[in-house]
Each structure stands twice: as structure tokens, then as C-alpha cells.
Symmetry: D2
Amino acid sequence: MALTGVLRPGFVQVRVLDMQAAIDHYTKRIGLHEVMTGEDGRVYLKSGDEFDHHSVILRKADHAGSDLMSFKVASEADLDSFEKRIVAYGYPVDHVPAGEQPGIGRRIGFTTASGHRFELYAHAEFSEPKPLIHNPDVWSVEPHGMGARRFDHALFYGPNVDENLDFFEKVLDFRCAERLDTPDGLLAIWLSCGMKAHDVAFVKHPEPSKTHHVSFELESWADVGHAADIITCYDISRDVGPTRHGITRGQTIYFFDPSGNRNEVFAGGYTYYPDSPTRTWDHTEIGKAIFYYERQLNEAFLSVVT
Amino acid sequence: MALTGVLRPGFVQVRVLDMQAAIDHYTKRIGLHEVMTGEDGRVYLKSGDEFDHHSVILRKADHAGSDLMSFKVASEADLDSFEKRIVAYGYPVDHVPAGEQPGIGRRIGFTTASGHRFELYAHAEFSEPKPLIHNPDVWSVEPHGMGARRFDHALFYGPNVDENLDFFEKVLDFRCAERLDTPDGLLAIWLSCGMKAHDVAFVKHPEPSKTHHVSFELESWADVGHAADIITCYDISRDVGPTRHGITRGQTIYFFDPSGNRNEVFAGGYTYYPDSPTRTWDHTEIGKAIFYYERQLNEAFLSVVT
Amino acid sequence: MALTGVLRPGFVQVRVLDMQAAIDHYTKRIGLHEVMTGEDGRVYLKSGDEFDHHSVILRKADHAGSDLMSFKVASEADLDSFEKRIVAYGYPVDHVPAGEQPGIGRRIGFTTASGHRFELYAHAEFSEPKPLIHNPDVWSVEPHGMGARRFDHALFYGPNVDENLDFFEKVLDFRCAERLDTPDGLLAIWLSCGMKAHDVAFVKHPEPSKTHHVSFELESWADVGHAADIITCYDISRDVGPTRHGITRGQTIYFFDPSGNRNEVFAGGYTYYPDSPTRTWDHTEIGKAIFYYERQLNEAFLSVVT
Amino acid sequence: MALTGVLRPGFVQVRVLDMQAAIDHYTKRIGLHEVMTGEDGRVYLKSGDEFDHHSVILRKADHAGSDLMSFKVASEADLDSFEKRIVAYGYPVDHVPAGEQPGIGRRIGFTTASGHRFELYAHAEFSEPKPLIHNPDVWSVEPHGMGARRFDHALFYGPNVDENLDFFEKVLDFRCAERLDTPDGLLAIWLSCGMKAHDVAFVKHPEPSKTHHVSFELESWADVGHAADIITCYDISRDVGPTRHGITRGQTIYFFDPSGNRNEVFAGGYTYYPDSPTRTWDHTEIGKAIFYYERQLNEAFLSVVT
């Protein structure tokens, strides 16, 4: 497979109301590690199984939600190429200098028709802990808490999902792994930039720029069960699960961080390839699409966003 | 991630001494499905979780081993492009017309410096059973036996591993996820064309064109355990495992089909990205590299090939 | 541990509306085996991991529910001893001759204050399939469907739970592993005759003689997940789960057979010993007691009984 | 099931060469908790899922092995009753006063024909951490390391296994769940005092009073895999596994503590009942009996004892 273009979700910047409570949640419970605190107070986190400097940034704010999601691209040349394509599509592009986030090179940013800020960058320094490289053990630091292995994807809510689909396919070379259509039109899309069933997803929603959840990957369904135990034992607010998604087949549980941001930890899901047909869902099976076992929706899951 | 080039392992053609025993082994035990028998007696198999027409071909022969491994590429244009690059590298390319294998388009073939025949093709029809596409359940047919989800990779033995590395990287755009070097030079390489830790691997061996194993992917370590039960209950010849590889982190068990071809079923392994550093191993930790728990090699594992 | 007295749940007789649909459900989906059909049309089922003749009897009837639950005791002398103790407690005892159910010896029967018929018997013939005894493989028949390993327990609804507790403790030598008390008094009890957290349980309910569910044991949480896939893929009516119970810690999923009888398959739960303190729950945590992850009750779970 | 007699393995006293290394091994790696250090320097450990004061005692000594294994009985009256039966069988009984081990009541001790010291006691105080009792969460302390849930059993080597079988059955009311016979006579026995496939086991060996391993129970095969990762990552000396035993069906891995005592962690195994037939093995399948997947013995496993 050619190695140019958008590689994967790089990081997400999450707004939190109480920084220490947020750090405890993402490190002790979800299992990330604290890399450093920046001069402006933002806190940088990563999984011990990620090489790059960080994958989650916590920013103190007065309301929950996420500021931006950034994708890592394969090269500086890709950055230039994507800038041209984005501008040609009609979206303004801004530039964030290297070092605005420690360990991350220059970034280009833009806003999709759904109102969400995305960024691309090509360079990240490594930080500790990270996977071992020479005669590597399976981990350099014993996993803890839920044992999250990576920031995996995010799901955003906003208008103009059709345009987002067109943009991500035509400009960023993503592919649509699954889509959900209702008699009122396209309701939701799951987009892949590689071999995962989704790297980002969008659900149609009247208000722009909303975040449904940020998601972390676990090793197995056994770990989803352990995460569920942690959620109850530490009295974390649970949303839904353990269950499976019909869409992507992921085995999942949803819960909220102390600021009210929805998190997911999940395992599994099929391997996607560019020649995989787009799986399609219609309104008769929305319940099964979202919650495969319950086969019905949960109103809060659809309406509570940050 | 750009979508051109080699997508994945497509199929492997395995030589078997007793066709019915082989069909029973690969379908009832490993969990594949029989798609059809060709006019020349070759039998075509697939997992119920694969879209394409087949992923394993069984050919009756008087000695075990594999005839060839084929990769699927993203487009017909890629086929032409790769043909030029292969020829430019100095390897002759031959052409196999569409239909030589049912459901598969034209193929180009060539032999690597290790003596192995590889092929590329861009077109495959779908066959049943395959994953559902509209309002899909998690399977169209309930998994059985070991529950193999796909033909995942193969490991080959032969000379000139250095040249194979050079060829796969420069001509086919693979990347080296892991390598094992000894004081005598490069011993083995694990090559990825996508986000898996390996799609094909080579170990240095004096005799060319040898096959160590063909491997099928399972969902989890729980399934590796179930596979181990099946292996003993049905008196299948086991080689090694259940264990884990240090290389790729895969959780694995090895066994032999009734003709003496080594099979692997495995689960897990890390997600590889093109910017992941190549993991390197040296001779001091070969044991751990291969069998992470045993931390020592098994002579038969190194020397028995077909 | 002394070996006299009630050993375990032996069998449950379930009323079904459509016999063939019931057989398909309990064999193909839950994973039991059909042993035989009796002259009166009752169908006898068992798990391949149970020695005794059968553990579930299906009886064609015009409404769902269960007729009786029988416990196996260690000896004929125990039968006589328990008969005296039951009569001394004030409950009439009736006698069912050997052979009323094929493969089962004489039984004594009685009705508890909750209106449920229970029986005791000391003799059961073995039937196939059963665990191997000499140089045994882990199974004589490969598990299928949900892979149920045994009929494990039942939960009944009815009045006079206090008296049931007194009777099972004093007369049958059961112990109360867990109990749930509300300001209105004792609401529910989980009773053990051995080392499992429960062998039978009762919930206070105005109407006597009701059955909440019959439960089958699985190997692991991985199997609970697989059961959930089967439930959706075969469009079986699901009630609740996958989740965990606070009470017993069992990892569970509930669903209905085609006649409307509630089934549970579950894994895990702690090991109970006679010197384990009774775990107690109060009304402030009923939700967590029943559904540990949801931490709230589901009205249908409390009110739908057969 | 009647509640008198021997309930379960209570504790084992293990000799260690380096106390701090032993504490680290049993707590950080196996997942036990340190309860206290006695005045004589012995260190008391337990799992967070055990109620009683301790289940492992570490004693500093100049050679590895175990001093004794104690079983908990249901009542003081049982202690007196067993003392009479043991003396009547011809074995001297000695008395250990309450408090010789903190939190443990009076004990009676005796030596079996295999040369091993066993003890019985009826009283143990609870210690922290232990399972919660009122509105209990699934754990009071998050599991760590391998997550051992209890000291489960021990396997001893010594002469006169036939007499041990007779003694445990006739005097202590154990039952023989499995036995292994060779043309030279009875080689090994697995004895149950409850519903587990074994609580203690013996293998014929010329030298008396030897310990093969002490074993800790884990929740699942997934945990056995995690234990294997811990063993390699922390460079713990592994003996065998992950594998399964044919005998008991336990899924297992063996390793050594820093003093050379063999440990096992395992999951699963069938549920044993007093009316379960004794599973029998003969010399033709010793390999499969011990290591179900390998189907052959490992010389060190048979000969290295402490």
C-alpha cells in the first residue's frame, strides 16, 4: 500500500473543567501516561504503546468539548499537497508553527462544513513511555487501568455531513467504510484513512462543531469487561455498554470524563481495505447499527454532545 | 493513507497429498469454507469474513509446500506500474490470464531472489459466504472450528534475504516492520504492505523456495486457546504453542496439515504504521524474538520446511 | 467437605408452546444436546459436559413457565432423611416413582411457601454425550452455539421469601450467599448448596409459583460476548446484557426462548464457601446489585415472569 | 451439600532465601497483598479476594520448599473429630496453639506417608484487603500483576501415594477426582474436598516431603496470557506454559519464585461433584494428562522439586 497521505489520527485536544480530575481520569482509569505540562497549562498525554509525543491534550476551559483533532501525514510534502487541495476545495487554511504543541512540527488547520477544526502535521518527536525498538518486550511499562493502547478515533456531530463525506474522500483520500441513510438523507458516515473501520465519524446534527466522543482502543473484549468494572468501582458515569456496534463491529463501552466529555473504550472491529464495499445501513435498522445487542437507540446517546 | 499499490495478501496455493483430508482440515478445523472445485481439480477455499473469491487454493501433488503467494493491488494501473518496476529491477515477469483461477483477473508473476514465486492481481470477484454489506450482521454464517477470519500472511525460507528486503521495499513499496540480525548478517525480515506487522516474512535458508508456514488470523487469545483444544482433540500434529512471538507480538499456535504443511493461527500483534521505527533484534535474543514465553528456539521450528 | 445432602441442581422442567422451536433454541443456540423423547412427548436435553441423563425437560403446554426444579442428593439415605425433615417442617411430601423421567430414580416432591414445586432424587443414569472418563479429552463432542456447560440455577418469584430462606437453610442445609433487604423487608435471596454463589434464588412477588429465569453456565466473558452475537444474529429476543451482576459477580446476558421463558447464560461469579459471610444489599443499591454496570433496574426485568 | 469437614486449602508456608525478593515476587508479580510481618520475621500474604487472614506465609530459610499446608475445617468440633480419626488411622497428631500464626486459631498437625506436614484449623480472623460484604463492589482494591484470586492448591512429591489416597479418602473425606496409573502402580492422585477438581495432589517420588508447586487461581485464560507476559517482561524463570492440563482441564503456566520454588497460576478446570466418576489416566497418555497441548512430558517438570 502506498505510504503517502494521511496516516492516522494524531491527537485530540479536549476541554476540561477540573485539570487534576481530568488527569486522574485519563491516566489512572483509562490508562494513559502524563508526558508533560506546557507553559500555558495544557497537559499532554499518551499511551505507552504510542511512539509519538502525545495523543491527547487537556486544556482547562469553562465548558467541555474538543477544540480540534489532528491527523498525522506521511511527509512535509504531503502537508503542502493537502494545503493546495484544501484551498482548491474552497476552505481557508491556517498555519500553526512548530512547537505550538511541544514535540509537534508545523500544522495546517481548517474547518469542515460541520464546523469542526481539523489539522494535519507531518512531524512528531517520540516521547516516553513508548514501545521498545531493540529486542523489544511487549511493553516498556506494565499496562494499568483500562489499558488503553491508543487514541483511536473521534465521532463528531454537526450539519453538512454530505459535504464532509465529499471533502474527506476527495481532498484527504479517506474512504467511507459505513454509512447510515434515512428517508431524510445521509445521517452518518464512518471514514477510514487506513485499515481501521473508522478513523473519524460524523453524525448529522443541527448545531455545528459538536463532539460526541473520543475513543481509545483496548486489546480485547476481556479488557472491555475490565473497563466496565473500573467504571462502576470508581463510580464513573457510564453511558452505554458493554455492547457491540453493528457499525464497525467494535465491542464497546461509553462513559463520561469528570468534565462531561464522552469517552469510549473499545476492542475489535473488522479490518478495512480500500476495496472493501461500503457497508450501508438504513433507518429500519438504526438500532442494530448503533447498539448491536440492544437493537434500539438510547435517546441520550443521540442527543448529549459537548 | 493513499490507496494505490499492494493492498494485502490475496491467496496462497498449497500442495497437498490427500485432497479430502486437506479439505476437511482447512474447513472443519481451521474454519474456512469450500467455494468450489476447479476443472483441474484444484479446490478453492475462503473465510466467511473475506469478500474475495478465495484465499487458499489446494492443489493435489506428490510433495507438500506452496506453489505461490499472490498479493492483491488496488488497480489495473498498479499492475502495469509494478510490472515495469519489477522488470526494471531485473526480474522477468510472466503473465497469467484472467480465469486461470476462477474469479480472479489477470496476474503478473515473478520469482524473488529467495526462489519464491509471487504474483500480483487487481481483480477478484466476490464469492459466498462473505461479510454482509447492507444492514450487516456480524457474520453471515456462524463461525466454526478455529474460526479463522482471513489468510493473513506466509513465512518463506530461502537465500538472499537481503535482496528480498531491497526488492520488496524499493519495488513493491513494502516496509520492514522487524528484522533479525546476527553476526553472520541479516537472518530474517518481516515486511508490511499496510497496517499489519507483517504480510510476508523471510528467513535465510540455504535451500531456495521453501515455505515455513501459512497463517490465519483469529479474533483473540481466547480463540488461540480454543484452537489448541481442537488440535489435541482431533489429534492434529502440533508444532509449537500456544505462545506469543516477540516479533509482531502475535499470540500463536503452530500445527501441521495432514500433508505436512505448517499452519499458524494467531491473534493480536501491534498496529504498524509507515512511520513506525523498524523493530530490530540481534542474536542475543533470538529465542525471545521467536517464542516470547519460551525464550529459546525449537530446532524443528527452524529446520522443518516444505 | 462432607459429601452428604443436596449436591446440586439436577434438572428443570420447562413448559414450551412449540416443541420443535424449543428444541432448536436449546440445542442449536444454547448448545445443549437432545438425549431422547419420552413416550409422553417430553424431550430430554443435557450439556455435553454433564454426566447425568438430562438437565432440562421440555414439556409441551399452552403457557410458558416451569413445572418443577429437582436437586440431586448424595444418597438414597439422604432422600429418606430429607423427607423426614421436610415433613417435620410441615410441608407435605409426595413420591414420584423411578422411571417417571427416563434415567432418573425415585423422587420426593414438595411445594415451598413461594408456591414452587421442588424435588429431590439420588439416582441418575449417565447418558451421551458426557465427559470422557478414561484418558479424557477436554470434550467428547465439540461445543457449539453458546456452548452451555451446565444447567446452573433458576430464579423464582413468589411470596414468603422469608419462609423460603428459613426452609432452605434449616431443612435442606443451603446457605444464604447474598440477600437484598428493603425498608419493606427481605426482597430477595441467593442460596447455595455448595461452592457456587447460588444454586437457586427467590424474589418476593405477590403471585406464587412464578419463574424468572433458568440459567446455563458458560466458560468465560468471551463466551458471553459470543452468546450476545448469536442472540442478535438469530434474532432471539434479548432482555438485558451483556452485563455483570453485583450479586454473585456473574457476567451475564438474558434472553427469551421462543415460548417466552427467560433464559440466562453467564460466566464467572465468586467461589462461595460455607464460612463466607452473607453479602447484604439494601434498597439504596438495588440497581447495582442486579445490573452492576447499568446501576439501575429495568422494569421488565422485575415484572415479566412466567 | 453438608457443611462439615475440610472446607478448603487455607495456607501454605513457603521457604525463601531472600525475603524482600520473595515479597516483591508474590505481591507485585503474582498480585497478592502483604498483610503483616510477624515477630519471628515470617511474612503473611493474601489475595484481595480472600476473607481469611492470610493464605501464604513466607519464611526465611537456607533452602527452598514448603514447610506445611493447612486446611480450614468448618468447626472446632470438626477439629476434634478429625484428630480422633487421624490418631485412629495411626498417625500422631500434634497441637499448635492459637496465635502461633497471627489471626489463626489452634491447629492440629500430622505427617502423611509421603512425608508431608499437613494441618487443620477451624478459626481465622479476617484481614484487609478482603471482599466487600455490604453493597459490595467486585473488588475493594483494583487487581494488579497477575491478579491471583486465591491460593488454590499444592502438588507434593513423595513415596506412598497409595497410602495418601487411602488416608485422605477415609480420614479427611476427600475424593479422588483423577488418578494416573502406570504398569508400576499408582503414580499420581488429584484430591478434592469440595467442588474443585483438586485441592491437593501427590506424585510418587522416592524422596519424601517434596513440593512440586503451589498454585494460585486466575479468572480466565486471558489472565494466563497476561501472566505469561509478566513472566517474560520481568525476566521470571518460566517452567512450562501457557498450556492446558488434561488432568483437571486447567489452563496454566508454571514459573519459579526467586528462591526456586515452583509456582503455578491457572484458570478454569471443570466443576467436580462427589458423584463425578474418578477420571483415570494410564501410562499411554501421561503426556496428554499433564500437558494437554504438548502431549509429551518435560523432564524438568517431573524431576525438579523443592
